[in-house]
């Protein structure tokens, strides 16, 4: 098995830039907190006991390694390349988000922080954070857009059951973007004792790098498992992208390998409408929530409202590393619509007995385009980032 090298690809730089994207665009009040966080993270990264504890929890509590399942019926359906699913839906709490929540809470504990805050869209990151806080006995406040609280009621109830305080955000579009604003305002105010667990590869440096690194285990395991099963690398790796954490997690270990990497954005009602969340396809570079990246914004630089059937992808920004991988064309990004995503849910449910999250279904929907172009001796890996139970209310309306 080839070494997972970062010799050719070394991002971000010391200032937290991935090419021209990233950085630290935050009020001065947060700079000491980011400096402290960066130092603590660097130290933890090199500390064997920290890594050991992180891996132990991922094993004993999260249930890692997650399986790499051969999707025989889905493969037969297309009659082309073999399809494997990286089963992040089997993680405790039902999605990949917990990998990062565990990593960051260990860091918070190491730094002596007494209070955790988080933002959440679909509620998966909120649930992962609430879960980690319950496990560690730390106070937890989750900011969630009022509209998302209706769409994802089950997750609100789960967070509350585990003792987290869920604060409804009524400002702006009442979705993930506004929940993030509110979480940052809380952090600015309570910066001394509060640790902000950001749920995706977004935000100011070092978050995009740190969150990616806490999720790279997805790609590392995939590589190892596929070598055991097929003694080779995949030809394609596919993942859905909102902020982009599950995607960076599975992409990163393959960046220096001869593998075609594909990110699938949420096209909403279509990339030609204004009801979309396809940030790379439709957006332009700008600054939101602490970093420079692609954004959906108007001529005046005001952030536009995103739309996606999936609350987890309903965000007008994207992680800065994705912006860099898009510009350099290392990863190709495409968009699929709400309707195509729903079709993806139906297909995977009927053929594999796996109900994927609406977010995840975007990756499966792209197979319609990708599979006819593949060959029988090729291998496609799809990151099955989360399960769809939380989305049953939305999905039920369409079946």
């Amino acid at each position: 098995m080839p070494e997972v090298t970062i010799e050719t690809y070394q991002q971000p730089n010391a200032k937290g830039y991935f090419g021209s994207y990233g950085g630290k665009f935050v009020p001065e009040t947060l700079i000491p907190a980011l400096v402290e966080l960066e130092a603590a993270y660097k130290e933890a990264e090199l500390d064997a006991s920290f890594q050991h504890e992180y891996l132990r929890l991922l094993h004993e509590y999260v249930g890692r390694p997650t399986e790499l399942s051969y999707a025989n019926r889905l493969t037969e359906h297309y009659g082309k390349a073999k399809i494997y699913l990286k089963r992040e839906d089997l993680c405790h709490t039902g999605a990949h988000k917990i990998n990062n929540a565990i990593g960051q809470i260990l860091l918070a504990q190491r730094m002596g922080k007494k209070r955790i805050i988080a933002e959440t869209g679909a509620g998966q990151h909120g649930v992962a954070t609430a879960t980690a806080c319950a496990k560690f006995g730390i106070e937890c406040v989750v900011y969630m857009g009022a509209e998302d609280m209706v769409r994802q009621k089950l997750n609100v109830d789960r967070m509350r059951l585990m003792g987290a305080e869920v604060r409804s955000v009524e400002s702006g579009s009442k979705t993930l973007k506004d929940a993030t604003n509110e979480a940052i305002r809380d952090w600015v105010t309570n910066v001394e004792d509060t640790f902000y667990i950001i749920g995706s590869v977004v935000g100011p440096h070092p978050y995009p790098m740190m969150v990616r690194n806490f999720h790279r285990i997805i790609g590392d395991e995939t590589k190892k498992q596929l070598f055991e099963l097929e003694q080779r690398l995949p030809d394609y790796v596919v993942a859905c992208v909102g902020g982009g954490s599950n995607a960076m997690g599975i992409f990163y270990p393959f960046i220096n390998d001869p593998v075609t990497i594909i990110g699938v954005e949420a096209g909403g009602l279509g990339v030609d409408t204004n009801q979309t969340a396809a940030t790379l396809t439709k957006g332009k570079p700008g600054v939101l929530h602490g970093s420079m990246s692609y954004l959906l914004h108007d001529e005046e630089g005001q952030i536009e409202l995103a739309h996606s059937i999936s609350a987890g992808l309903d965000y007008p920004g994207i992680g800065p590393e994705h912006a860099h991988l898009f510009d350099t064309k290392r990863v190709s990004y495409h968009a699929v619509t709400d309707a195509q995503a729903l079709e993806g849910v139906r297909l995977l449910s009927r053929l594999e007995g796996i109900i994927p999250a609406l977010e995840t279904a975007h990756a499966f929907a792209w197979l319609e385009e990708l599979m006819p172009t593949t060959k029988k001796d090729e291998i496609v890996v799809v990151n099955c980032s989360g399960r769809g139970d939380k989305d049953m209310t939305t999905i039920s309306a369409y079946i």
Binding site: K15, G23, K24, F25, V26, P27, E28, T29, L30, I31, P32, S171, G172, K177, D178, N181, I184, R185, V188, T189, V191, E192, K284, P285, G286, V287, L288, H289, G290, L295, H297, E299, E300, G301, Q302, I303
Partner: protein, 284 residues
């Protein structure tokens, strides 16, 4: 040559400099110029004109509200430059634009600075552009004669205070509390601010210091700014406008509030405090 901000500090040596923040286009686009000119007549020494942004993450509910309203009123960057031009045709008050980086980036940084210079902007505050990212605008600002005003907070280290001083011109903005903008209980601010101001004065030696965040009355202003060159009021002013707009004579109420903020008594009234903590020379 001294620019308008430096001239103002030279002139106000015997009293505190009062800077007022107003969101451009709030409560309506048509009112902004008249409000600014009225603020000047009633004691404002510097005006900070806020460029509204949809996602103002350093601001509390009051400025979020005024920004959203201004955006729905149809404010644009060019309309803000027009306002500056109109004000400049009638007044020499220093005008500082305050806004988040994204609208400036979208306008194009070069065009933004060219236009700012052309219409008569004196300074710029960008709350989401910390010293680490300041290089992005530093050269453009210098070329176009625009002062960059950096912010420091109670948790800013001594080294960074010195850096803020080096990279600022015009003044350094001391954020009195860790938190977002918004009027606060005066005593809450006062508790921690003295020590912070003392430390700031030790490390900021090239620029005047203005203190802001949480000031809502003449008394707050006197207490909080007693050892620095001046103070900034934003949210309390916007709250006041929110309360009176659009009643008849609402502007008169606002100007009266501004007058009280500066002098401690209403327009045409008598001064309550004859000798005061407001005089810089008697205090330090």
């Amino acid at each position: 040559m001294m620019n308008r901000i430096q001239q103002t500090f030279a002139k106000t040596e015997d009293h505190k400099c009062m800077s007022l923040f107003i969101t451009a286009g709030f409560p309506t686009i048509e009112d902004t110029v008249e409000l600014v000119l009225g603020f000047e007549k009633n004691g404002a020494d510097i005006i900070e004109l806020g460029i509204p942004f949809s996602d103002p993450l350093a601001d509390g509910p009051t400025i979020q509200y005024s920004s959203n309203l201004a955006i729905s009123n149809g404010i644009t960057m060019n309309k803000i430059f027009d306002m500056v031009k109109q004000i400049r045709s009638q007044s020499e008050i220093p005008l500082v634009l305050m806004g988040y980086i994204n609208p400036m980036l979208r306008y194009g940084l070069t065009s933004f600075f060219e236009k700012a210079q052309e219409v008569g902007v004196d300074g710029l505050i960008v709350p989401d552009l910390p010293l680490d990212e300041g290089h992005m605008i530093h050269d453009l600002a210098t070329t176009h004669g625009i002062n960059i005003i950096n912010l420091i907070a109670p948790n800013t280290t001594n080294e960074r205070m010195q850096l803020a001083d080096q990279q600022s011109s015009g003044f350094v903005y001391c954020v009195s509390v860790t938190g977002v903008t918004g009027a606060r209980d005066g005593s809450e601010v006062q508790k921690s601010v003295d020590q912070f101001i003392e430390r700031s004065k030790e490390h900021i030696t090239n620029n005047p210091i203005m203190v802001g965040f949480g000031i809502k009355s003449y008394e707050d202003a006197c207490n909080i700014s007693k050892n620095v060159e001046g103070y900034i009021v934003g949210s309390a002013l916007i709250e006041n406008i929110k309360e009176h707009f659009p009643k008849p004579e609402w502007k008169s109420e606002i100007f009266d509030f501004v007058h009280r903020l500066k002098f401690g008594y209403s327009r045409g009234g008598t001064r309550r405090l004859t000798k005061g903590s407001i005089s810089l020379k008697t205090d330090i």
